[in-house]
């Protein structure tokens, strides 16, 4: 290997700016804060009501635990499939990437369906203090899930439309980062709303 040969080697590509990844991190932080602020409002209302010696839920209200817990399990499984997408993209494995993306999307949609199922099961009246906040918290998280799914879908289309390397994989990583935040926030929602009641 001579110096001449080394001179002929093209310069290394400049470092990727990773704009999408950092932008997604900022967006995930903002969305997380928004939903957590809703949870905080719910908990404060709960503390005020219980502190006044009143019932938190209107009499006869049922809030089943099972749909919420199933939702947690569903979103937990989606964490695995989301990580699978990144692994498949980095290994240029198109089949695995398609499969993992499809499963993540399916689990995400299932989470939304489970939330609607919960709305059918519960008898929480919307015209009550806790009812308004219950639907705001769960609806707020559902909105975050929809955003995360849309982000995944758009990045998936972009990744599969081009090469499954470089910036495309970064876009998918950004979408998955947002999805991780969505799942993490749900853990807090699950504990605050369904467990503490």
């Amino acid at each position: 290997m001579t110096a001449v040969t080394l001179d002929a080697v093209p310069a290394a590509p400049s470092e990727r700016p990773r704009v999408l990844l950092y932008g997604a991190a900022f967006a995930a932080g903002a969305s997380t804060l928004a939903v957590l602020a809703l949870v905080a409002t719910y908990l404060r209302h709960r503390a005020d009501v219980l502190g006044a010696g009143e019932l938190l839920f209107p009499e006869g209200t049922v809030l089943p635990l099972t749909p919420g817990t199933m939702n947690l399990v569903t979103l937990g499984m989606s964490l695995v499939t989301a990580s699978w997408i990144v692994w498949a993209l980095r290994n240029q494995d198109r089949v695995h990437a398609y499969l993992a993306l499809g499963l993540t999307g399916l689990l995400g949609v299932a989470s939304i369906v489970e939330t609607f199922y919960l709305y059918q099961q519960t008898s929480m009246p919307v015209r009550s203090g806790v009812g308004v906040l219950f639907y705001a918290v769960t609806g707020g998280h559902m909105a975050m899930s929809v955003l995360g799914l849309l982000f995944l879908a758009v990045m998936g289309l972009q990744a599969f439309g081009g090469q499954l390397t470089g910036r495309d994989a970064e876009g998918m990583s950004a979408a998955i980062l947002y999805w991780y935040a969505t799942v993490g926030v749900y853990v807090v929602v699950w504990y605050a709303v369904y467990i503490t009641k």
Partner: protein, 541 residues
């Protein structure tokens, strides 16, 4: 294949295809992905918001002169004007102006060809315009936070929500730009102080505005479903932004501008750039306010979070003093020129220093109002309003100073130097004449809202009359500054690319910069690359 393998017929056909023409006229404004266009729109919209909020503040200050009743407007309207003065002043003026200047200047300072997510940035500014219009529409249709018409209240809350979302999107673009689009050599520790302050501000506001947005949603649901879920009603969603510590976040650009212009007008390198970065970061961290929200909004126990609140109120003085010390040292080592941007920056930091000291005094519970036998805490009196006005005036001074400093880049002209200096002094005088009487009136027990005082009525009313002059001075200063911009735009004096002898990359391109910002960039080995280029021998030594 034959076609592609043939030699080109002539030289012209082998030339690169010309880039598509940029849209002009309205299409160039509404559909541009240029951060400079978005930045200018933010600035113009903010100045409109400034005039509206300024007039509202003037009406409220006149109303305060007679504490016995409502004189200027009826009770419904004065409550709306009172809240609009604060909501408009922060969310329709100071924050949009900060975003506008940051959107314009930050990519230039870090050597980037544009802003991150340019279409999102453009969408944010137009969403803000729509949201601001809806918010004002809410006020005009008997709404606002205390309006009698619930539809108007909901309209106000929808507009407020859109404004908050738009500003969150804008801060995402600015923060991502600083983190990811820096030119080669511009390490994070070499980022110019103003851009660093924009990054700190983006982090702080991205942790603050989503909470505001959520509270606005809760307020909306409370109104829609007739529930009492938010302390302070719809106004409680935003009122905590106007008290310490959250209010200090408005002043983050003050420190950024001070660190930016002092070395330039001292003609020397900045002192301890990394320490300055740390001080601005510390100030930003201490101005995070959402944690203190419960303590500020529960009327029964405003000091529920007393220990951290007191600690933060005192600690926030240190970064301001630290940066003042570094700036003084930089000035001492150089040959200072008293130019208008330097005057704006120094005036701004003096107003901020007074504000944080007043904030610390407010946090000391033994200090009470001087009402005979009925002393109460200063929080909730016009002492709190005075702090808000001092911070707001500091931010106003800094942002107008920044716009004056970067006017060659933003409008391709410099403002008349003597008149700009006068504006800085008038604004500082206005800030002091407005806020100091408010602080004194707060000490005498004048509540922050509009109401009677149990004691010292004559003195409080006299102080309120002085404050009217302060608001008027601030408004006059603002209007004169806008007229200076108009005069500069009409004039034909071109300032050149670097009229101040700047240290940072934005001065290495034309005024105003072309699309793409830079034809070429100098080598960056420090936080002051253009200073290095001018003083190569000193740097080599």
């Amino acid at each position: 294949m034959t076609v592609t393998e043939s030699a080109p017929a002539d030289a012209a056909s082998s030339a690169p295809a010309p880039s598509p023409a940029r849209p002009t006229g309205l299409a160039g404004i509404f559909g541009s992905d240029d951060h400079k266009v978005a930045g200018r729109v933010w600035i113009v919209v903010a100045l409109v918001g400034a005039l509206a909020a300024g007039i509202a503040e003037l009406i409220v200050s006149i109303e305060r002169v007679d504490t016995s009743g409502i004189d200027v407007l009826d009770a419904d309207w004065i409550a709306r004007v009172f809240t609009f003065g604060e909501v408009g002043g922060v969310l329709l003026f100071l924050l949009p102006l900060t975003i506008g200047i940051a959107t314009y200047v930050v990519p230039l300072q870090i050597g980037a060809p544009g802003i991150a997510f340019p279409r999102l940035s453009t969408a944010a500014v137009w969403a803000h315009v729509v949201g601001a219009g809806v918010l004002v529409g809410g006020y005009l249709t008997d709404g606002g936070p205390y309006g009698p018409d619930l539809d108007g209240v909901e309209l106000y809350l929808v507009g407020l929500g859109v404004v908050v979302v738009a500003q969150v999107l804008a801060w995402i673009c600015i923060g991502t730009t600083v983190v990811t689009l820096r030119a080669p050599g511009v390490r994070l520790t070499r980022v110019p102080l103003f851009s660093w302050s924009a990054l700190v501000a983006s982090a702080v506001w991205l942790l603050t505005l989503p909470v505001v947005g959520t509270l606005v949603l809760v307020a909306f649901l409370s109104v829609r479903f007739d529930q009492d879920l938010l302390a302070g009603g719809p106004y409680g969603a935003v009122s905590w932004l106007f008290a310490q510590p959250a209010v200090y976040a408005l002043a983050i650009p003050v420190l950024g501008l001070l660190g930016e212009v002092v070395p330039v007008f001292a003609g020397t390198r900045p002192r301890q750039h990394r320490v300055a970065l740390g001080l601005v970061g510390a100030f930003g961290a201490l101005s995070l306010g959402a944690w203190a929200l419960p303590g500020l909004t529960v009327e029964a126990d405003p000091f529920a979070y007393e220990v951290p609140w007191v600690a933060v109120s005192f600690a926030v003085i240190l970064p301001v003093l630290g940066l003042l010390g570094l700036s003084a040292d930089t000035l001492r080592r150089g040959k200072p020129r008293l130019s208008s941007p330097l005057l704006f920056a120094v005036a701004a930091v003096l107003a901020l220093l007074l504000a944080v000291v007043a904030g610390a005094v407010q946090a000391v519970e033994p200090i009470e109002t001087l009402v005979d036998g009925e002393g109460t805490a200063l929080f909730g009196t016009t002492w709190t309003t005075g702090i808000l006005h001092l911070v707001g005036a500091a931010a106003l001074l800094a942002l107008l100073g920044a716009a004056t400093y970067w006017a060659p880049k933003i409008i391709g002209r410099t403002l008349a130097e003597g008149a700009a200096r006068l504006v800085a002094l008038v604004l500082l005088a206005g800030a002091l004449v407005l806020a100091v009487p408010e602080l004194v009136a707060g000490l005498l027990g004048q509540p922050a809202g509009l109401g009677e005082v149990p004691d010292n009525v004559d003195t409080v009313e006299a102080l309120a009359a002085v404050s009217v002059a302060g608001v008027a001075l601030l408004l006059v200063g603002l209007v004169v500054w806008i007229l200076l911009v108009v005069k500069a735009l009409v004039g034909r004096d071109l300032p050149g690319d670097d009229p101040w002898g700047g240290h940072t990359l934005e001065w290495a391109t034309s005024s105003p910069p072309p699309p793409g910002n830079f034809a070429s960039l100098p080598v960056v080995t420090s936080e002051a690359p253009l200073y290095d280029a001018r003083h190569r021998e000193e740097v080599d030594a």
